[in-house]
């Protein structure tokens, strides 16, 4: 008899559009959310302190009004901070922005104000008994890393990376591509190069400047060896190529498959 398992944690929120297109949003982990919350908590403290400083100007005029305004300001800042920022910054607070996190609708739709308000009101329960213990436990146990407020509001917190398409210039090679002189070799490489290997090679080429010279040698050496294992590359070709140039030439052959 197998024990009942808890729902499996997902790392991506998969959405299938009515047009049949599937896309995924990377879900934020609890550690990144905790750091974002710490930043926000510090900022809330700073805002409260600033409000107190500003309001203290009026203390000498009327101490009662000063105390009342202070109480209301503290309440509005503590409850309204998350709501205001998430609404104005489309699902981000300063903490979330620093950590590149964003609150989004769980079904990929546009975030509505009522969702933001409900998820922030539910903080009263999520923060119980101290330091978001309930919310943290709920997020750890939930399939989509949702705290109770996220469940009630139909929201999830995602990681928002800076995405950009790969620069087509990286496929261009100024040098003569000797692999094109061997049509059968090019055909075998196109046929047998696994998409995952091509992807790694693309990443290596596009990010080569981020690597140290030693790392470049190692990465392109290993990738060159992988491609050489796919098919035997004649010695006269290899004699004129570095590993990096081999990888670039292979990429040109493989990705530009329909070019003449």
């Amino acid at each position: 008899m197998t024990p009942r398992s808890a729902p499996l944690r997902r790392h991506r929120l998969e959405i299938l559009t009515p047009e049949g297109v599937r896309f995924g949003l990377p879900l934020a982990g609890p550690v990144a959310r905790l750091v974002a919350w710490i930043v926000d908590a510090l900022l809330i403290g700073a805002f409260m302190s600033a409000a107190d400083k500003i309001l203290s100007i009026f203390q000498s005029l009327n101490a009662d009004w000063y105390a009342a305004a202070n109480t209301i300001a503290f309440f509005v800042i503590s409850v309204g901070y998350g709501m205001a920022f998430e609404w104005l910054w489309s699902g981000q607070t300063p903490g979330k922005r620093i950590m590149r996190l964003r609150v989004v609708d769980a079904q990929g739709l546009k975030l509505q104000f009522q969702q933001i308000a409900v998820r922030n009101i539910l903080r009263f329960v999520d923060s119980l008994p101290v330091l978001y213990f309930v919310g943290g436990a709920a997020a750890l146990l939930s399939r989509d890393a949702q705290r109770l407020g996220d469940m009630a509001a139909n929201t999830v917190v995602i990681r928002q990376n800076q995405f950009a398409p790969v620069d087509p210039a990286i496929f261009a090679t100024a040098r003569y591509n000797s692999l094109l002189d061997y049509p059968h070799l090019a055909a075998v490489l196109r046929q047998r190069s696994a998409p995952a290997l091509v992807d790694i090679a693309l990443q290596a080429v596009s990010r080569r400047d981020e690597l140290s010279p030693e790392a470049q040698l190692q990465v392109f050496g290993e990738l060159g060896a992988r491609f050489r294992r796919i098919t035997r590359i004649p010695d006269e070709v290899m004699a004129t190529l570095t590993d990096e140039q081999l990888v670039r030439n292979v990429l040109q052959v493989v990705t530009a498959s329909r070019r003449s």
């Binding site: 297109v21 546009k110 009522q114 409900v118 009263f124 329960v125």
Partner: protein, 344 residues
């Protein structure tokens, strides 16, 4: 087959850039007006980018471009499927005198549930004090309520000067913020399938019943009504409205007899929950002002009958407001859809 990636990016990049620029414009101003031609173009760009994503997913494992396209399509998908092309702004008066009473009536059953729980709690609290006066300390762990009614009344009526002088505003602010916190907490506990909301409302009823029984038994009914009615007729319903919102949330969590998914049920009620939370907050601001500036003053400063009459008028107005305000006459819808027959 592997996609001819350089050619693919070369040919589609302009489409993606155009879609990105529209999305950036919408991000900057969600209510930015769009012409029909712009909407059609936006939709075309979204569909074309979706198609590109589908091709990428099928024919290429190239990660950065696919992630970029996923992010782009996700943003466009949200705009296309959610965007309300009618510019609308929040109108406080329309919300207060239209949306609030309509939302209250829409979920009246949940309000009645809160009233019933409060009555049961009050009966329990009253019975506890009646049969065991020592239970006061357990039921009402507040220093101000532990003295006997006779002591309290004597103290209040013989007070020399204004005890709340120079602290009325701050006292009022304390009451407002504390009560709004309690209300929002009661609402939020609806996520526990309503169990937490039931407990909070029941306990509120227990305290109310115990205090009432204590003063009525001691023969100070008039003092009790004069003390509680001016703010209580608004404050207690406000807590019940927050409980009502909690029960709406609980109902969506449980979903008895509702074939929709939990996510769909919660999506439908989220605006109502927010409206009820706002209603409770507005009511508690009023109750906080009245409690600090009127309820704490007793005879001979303010006659009890005047305070009771004030409370009764408030209750009548509140009842009328929730029962009648914002009603839409039969045959009229809030938004008149434009049909061909209406066109000039």
């Amino acid at each position: 087959m592997i996609l001819d990636l350089p050619r693919f990016i070369d040919s589609e990049r302009s489409v993606w850039d155009e879609l990105e620029s529209i999305l950036a414009r919408l991000d900057a101003d969600a209510r930015a007006p769009m012409t029909v031609a712009e909407i059609a173009r936006f939709h075309y760009l979204y569909q074309r980018s979706s198609s590109d994503l589908a091709r990428m997913a099928t024919f290429s494992a190239e990660q950065p471009t696919r992630e970029y396209l996923e992010s782009l399509v996700a943003r466009a998908y949200a705009e296309v499927n959610t965007r309300d092309y009618t510019p609308r702004r929040f109108r406080p008066l329309e919300w207060l005198f239209g949306t609030v009473p309509r939302t209250f009536r829409k979920h009246f059953r949940e309000f009645v549930l809160g009233v019933v729980i409060t009555i049961v709690g009050s009966a329990f609290g009253a019975a506890a004090v009646h049969f065991d006066s020592s239970s006061k300390a357990v039921l009402m762990p507040f220093q101000g309520l532990l003295q006997t009614p006779a002591q309290r009344v004597k103290e209040e009526e013989s007070a020399k000067g204004d005890r709340l002088k120079n602290v009325k505003s701050s006292f009022s602010a304390d009451l407002m913020t504390h009560n709004i916190r309690v209300s929002l907490f009661t609402l939020a506990l609806g996520i526990t399938w309503g169990i937490g909301s039931v407990i909070t409302i029941f306990y509120n009823g227990v305290i109310l019943g115990a205090v009432a029984a204590d003063y009525v038994q001691a023969g100070y009914t008039q003092f009790l009504l004069g003390w509680l009615m001016p703010h209580g007729v608004v404050e207690i319903p406000a807590i019940l409205v927050a409980g009502q919102a909690g029960f709406v949330l609980a109902g969506a969590m449980i979903g008895w007899g509702d074939h929709r998914t939990r996510r769909e049920r919660l999506r439908v009620v989220s605006a109502d929950i927010l409206n009820l939370a706002g209603t409770a907050a507005v009511m508690l601001v009023w109750a906080g002002i009245i409690e600090a500036f009127l309820s704490q003053y007793h005879q001979p400063v303010v006659p009890y009958n005047l305070k009771i009459a004030f409370g009764a008028i408030e209750l009548a107005l509140l009842t009328f407001f929730f029962a009648r305000a914002g009603r839409i006459p039969p045959g009229h819808s809030r938004r008149q859809p434009r049909s061909p027959a209406h066109r000039p």
